[in-house]
Symmetry: C2
Subunit: 447 residues, 2 copies
C-alpha cells in the first residue's frame, strides 16, 4: 500500500493534486524548480489571465477550496467585441447566469500553495528535476541555490511540471517507442496592461472578456480585482505586421493607435511593456504513454500542453485531478489499475481539447467578427433554448458541461458544424432564421 | 565561397551526397559513429533488404555509379503472394519491363563508401556527434575508441545520420519553436533467413518480392545474389500473436509451420534467428525546419524517417541528394538560396511519402490478399494501358516516375482512390469490368 506521493512541479495542477491526495491521507511532497513565488520576486510579464470555468470549478469544489478562490475571481458573462470600425458588440457565453471567471494565474497559484501547506503538503523550492532511475524508483534534483544533487526514493511519482516537463523527459528517454509531438503555431503572445482607475474602477466593461479581433491576430483583455485588465496580444512572429516588424516604440504606438484605437488610449505603459515583456511561443504537446506501471503519471500540461484559445488548459488539468480522484475510490488504491484507466480516459480527452483549442484561435481572431458567425450563434442559441435536449452549443459543452467528455464535445461539435453549414446555406436565412421552416429543417437534419 | 563540406553519417545518403559534392570540387569529410563496416564485424540481423527503384536509380546514374550497383541488384518484377490457404498469386508492379531491385543494405553501403573514397572523400569512423556550436560553426565529436573529444570548424554541414540523428538533436536543442513528431506504429520487424541452395540456386521465384499477407501481419522475402532470401517478419509487439506471445522456440516453430507453411520449410535456422535477431521498431519522424541559414541541412532519414512499406526510404533520401544537386546548379553555389529552396521543395514531399508509406502497410499485409483489391488493380492496369495519358496507378507514380513529386503522387492517389471506390461499387463489376460501359463510366468520372 502506497503512503507517500512525490510531485514534480508546484504549479496550478501540482498544487491542486497535492491537496486531493493529502486529504486522502497520503504524505505528499512537491519539488518545484523555481523559488517560492509567495516570497521571492518572480519574473512577471509572461502570464495570460486564466478563464476558470465549470470543469475547474468542479475540481476546486471537490477539495473544498472554491470559496477561497471565488474571492479572487471576476465573472465574465460574454465576449465584448471591439471591432476595427470602432463599433462594439456583445456575445453572451451561454444562457443567463452562465459565466467564466477571470483569475490571475499568480494569485491562484499562491492560494493553492497556501491551501496545500495547510493540508500538510511539504513544498521544496529551487529543486530542478534532473533524472529518474525507474528501476530503483529514485529521483534526483539539483538544488538551484547551491547546485548540490539530491536523490530521493519515491513510491508514487507525478509529473505536473508543465509543457516542457523535465519529468516527461526522464520518462521519455528511458521508454521504447515513446510517441511524442510538439507543434508550435506561427503566433506568439505578449502580456500588456490596462491599469485600473484611481479608485480601482474599471475602464472597460468589467464582467466580460474583451476581444479586438483583427482577422490574422487579436488583442484580448481580462479583468483583475484591482480594476486593471491583463491584456494579451496574439500576433504573428514574422511578416507584416508581426513581433519582428514592430521593432521601435514609434511603430508600436502607431500600430496600436490605428488598429486598437480604444484600447490604445487606455494603455499608458504600452511601449515600455511591449519591449520589456517577452514574446512567448504557443505549443501543443502530445505524448504517449503518460504512465509507468503503478508508480508514475504525467498530469496537466506535462501530459497535454494546449494553446490557450478555449480557456481550457488549467480546467483540463484540474479535471485530470478530479478524474484521478474518482478512480482512487473506484479501484480502492490499486495504483496500477488507477493509472491505467486514468490514461485510457484522459488521453483521448487531452487530444480532443488540444484540437478544439487550435480551432478556436481562428474563431476568436477572425470569424467572431463576421455577421455570418454572429447569425449562426444566434440560430444555435435560439434553437437550443427551444429544444434544450436536442442541441447544446459546442462552447457550452466544453465550458459549462463537465459531464460531457472533451472527446464527446469534439465529436458533437463536428456533427453540429456540418448541420449548421447546411442551415446557413438555406436561401434567405439571414431574414427567415426565426421561421418555422428553418426550425423544422434543423429538426429534420438532426434526425 | 564555400569549399569544404562536413557530413555527419556515412550511411547510404551521406555516402551518396559526398560523391555528388566531391565531384563538384568540394573537399568532403564524413564523420561516422560506427566502425568501418568494410573491415569491422558490425552487428547484423537488423536489416530489411532495400528495394531500389527509379528515383534512387536516377540519383545513382547522375553520379555515374549505377553500373557498379547493378551488379549487386536483383530485379523484382512483381509481388509473389503466398496466401494462407496455400495458393499463390503474382501481381506485376508495373508495365512489362518495369521492376524494382533487391539490394543488400550492407553491400550497397560498402560500395558507396568505396566510391566516395575513390572520389577523394575522407571518412572518419568511430566519431560520435556530440554537440554543435552554431554561432562558432564548430562541431564536436567523441572518438569511440578513446573517448577523446574532437572539435572541428565547418563551412557547410549536413546531417545524414538517420532517424535518430544526433545532428538533428543539436539543431533542435538550439532552435526556437522547432516542430517535431516521432510516431511509432504498434508493429516491429525481425530479420530472418531463407538460405540459398548448394549451387547458389534460389528456392523461391528469384525475380519477385515475396509476401505472405496475413491480415494483421506479414512476412516478406527479398532475393540476394547468393541465392538466399532476406526475410522480414512485420508483426505486432503485443497481443496474440505477437513478438511478446511467441516466447519459446516451440511456439515460434508451431506458429510458422501453421501460418507460413511453405516458408517454414525453407527456414532451417528459423528459431535460432528469431531469438538472436532483435525485434526492431518502426518510426516516422517529421520535423521543421531542416536547415539553418547557409550552413546546415538535414537530409535523408534525419529529415524524414518513414516506415519501409513503400520501399521508398532510401529512394527518397537519394532523391534529396539529386534535388539538392540541381539547386546548386540553379543558384550557382549561393547556399542560403539553395538550402531554402531545398527545404521548400522537399518538406512537402517528405511528408507525402511518409503518409503513403504508412498507408501501404495496410495494403501489403491485408488488402493485397483480397479479390476486390486484385480486381481493382486489374481494372486500373487495363484502363491505364488503354488511356496512358489519363491514368497512371499510384504505385507506378511513386516507384517508376521520378518526374512526379511525392506530394503530387499522394494527391493523385487520393483522387484515384475516390474514383475507384465508385467504380468498384458499380453493379456486377466483377463480371463486366472489361465492358465499354465501365470504361465510359471511368472516363466520365475522370472528367
Amino acid at each position: 500500500m502506497k503512503k507517500e506521493v512525490t510531485i514534480v512541479g508546484a504549479g496550478l495542477v501540482g498544487s491542486l493534486l497535492s491537496i486531493y491526495l493529502s486529504k486522502r491521507g497520503y504524505k505528499v511532497s512537491i519539488f518545484e524548480r523555481r523559488p517560492d513565488m509567495r516570497t521571492a520576486a518572480i519574473s512577471a510579464g509572461k502570464s495570460i489571465n486564466l478563464a476558470l470555468s465549470d470543469r475547474g470549478i468542479k475540481a476546486l469544489e471537490e477539495v473544498g477550496v472554491m470559496e477561497e478562490i471565488r474571492k479572487i475571481a471576476i465573472p465574465m458573462h460574454g465576449r465584448f467585441l471591439h471591432n476595427a470600425d470602432g463599433s462594439t458588440a456583445y456575445q453572451p457565453y451561454g444562457k443567463k447566469g452562465q459565466f467564466i471567471n477571470s483569475v490571475s494565474r499568480g494569485e491562484l497559484n499562491k492560494k493553492l500553495m497556501d491551501l496545500a501547506e495547510q493540508h500538510g503538503v511539504e513544498i521544496f523550492f529551487n529543486k530542478k528535476c534532473e533524472n529518474v532511475d525507474w528501476n530503483k524508483s529514485e529521483i534526483t534534483f539539483e538544488d538551484q541555490t547551491n547546485f548540490q544533487l539530491l536523490t530521493f526514493n519515491f513510491q508514487l511519482l507525478f509529473g505536473s511540471d508543465g509543457a516542457f516537463s523535465a519529468a516527461r523527459l526522464a520518462h521519455q528517454l528511458q521508454h521504447d517507442r515513446f510517441q511524442y509531438q510538439q507543434y508550435y503555431i506561427d503566433y506568439g503572445y505578449k502580456e500588456l496592461q490596462i491599469p485600473g482607475g484611481e479608485q480601482g474602477e474599471f475602464s472597460l466593461e468589467k464582467n466580460a472578456l474583451h476581444i479586438w479581433p483583427r482577422g490574422n491576430y487579436m488583442l484580448i483583455a481580462l479583468p483583475n480585482v484591482d480594476g486593471s485588465f491583463t491584456c494579451t496580444l496574439f500576433f504573428p512572429f514574422e511578416g507584416d505586421p508581426s513581433f519582428a516588424s514592430l521593432d521601435s516604440a514609434e511603430k508600436v504606438a502607431a500600430f496600436f493607435k490605428t488598429t486598437f484605437t480604444d484600447a490604445y488610449e487606455l494603455m499608458p505603459t504600452l511601449t515600455a511593456d511591449f519591449f520589456t515583456n517577452p514574446s512567448s511561443s504557443l505549443v501543443t504537446v502530445k505524448c504517449f504513454p503518460w504512465i509507468r506501471e503503478d508508480k508514475f503519471a504525467l498530469i496537466g500540461d506535462a501530459a497535454h500542453a494546449i494553446v490557450p484559445f478555449f480557456g481550457q488548459g488549467m480546467n483540463c488539468g484540474f479535471e485530470d485531478c478530479s478524474v484521478l480522484n474518482d478512480l482512487i475510490d473506484e479501484y480502492s488504491e490499486n495504483w496500477e489499475k488507477i493509472l491505467t484507466v486514468y490514461q485510457q480516459l484522459r488521453k483521448p480527452d487531452g487530444d480532443a481539447i488540444a484540437e478544439l483549442a487550435l480551432n478556436n484561435f481562428v474563431e476568436m481572431r477572425d470569424k467572431v467578427a463576421g455577421p455570418t458567425f454572429l447569425l449562426q450563434k444566434k440560430i444555435e442559441a435560439a434553437f437550443s433554448e427551444k429544444h434544450p435536449g436536442k442541441w447544446l452549443p459546442a462552447y457550452a459543452q466544453v465550458t459549462f458541461s463537465p459531464q460531457i467528455r472533451y472527446s464527446e464535445a469534439l465529436k458533437n461539435s463536428i456533427w453540429q458544424e456540418a448541420i449548421m453549414q447546411q442551415v446557413m446555406a438555406l436561401p434567405g436565412i439571414e431574414n427567415n432564421w426565426q421561421s418555422d421552416e428553418v426550425e423544422q429543417k434543423m429538426l429534420e437534419l438532426i434526425g
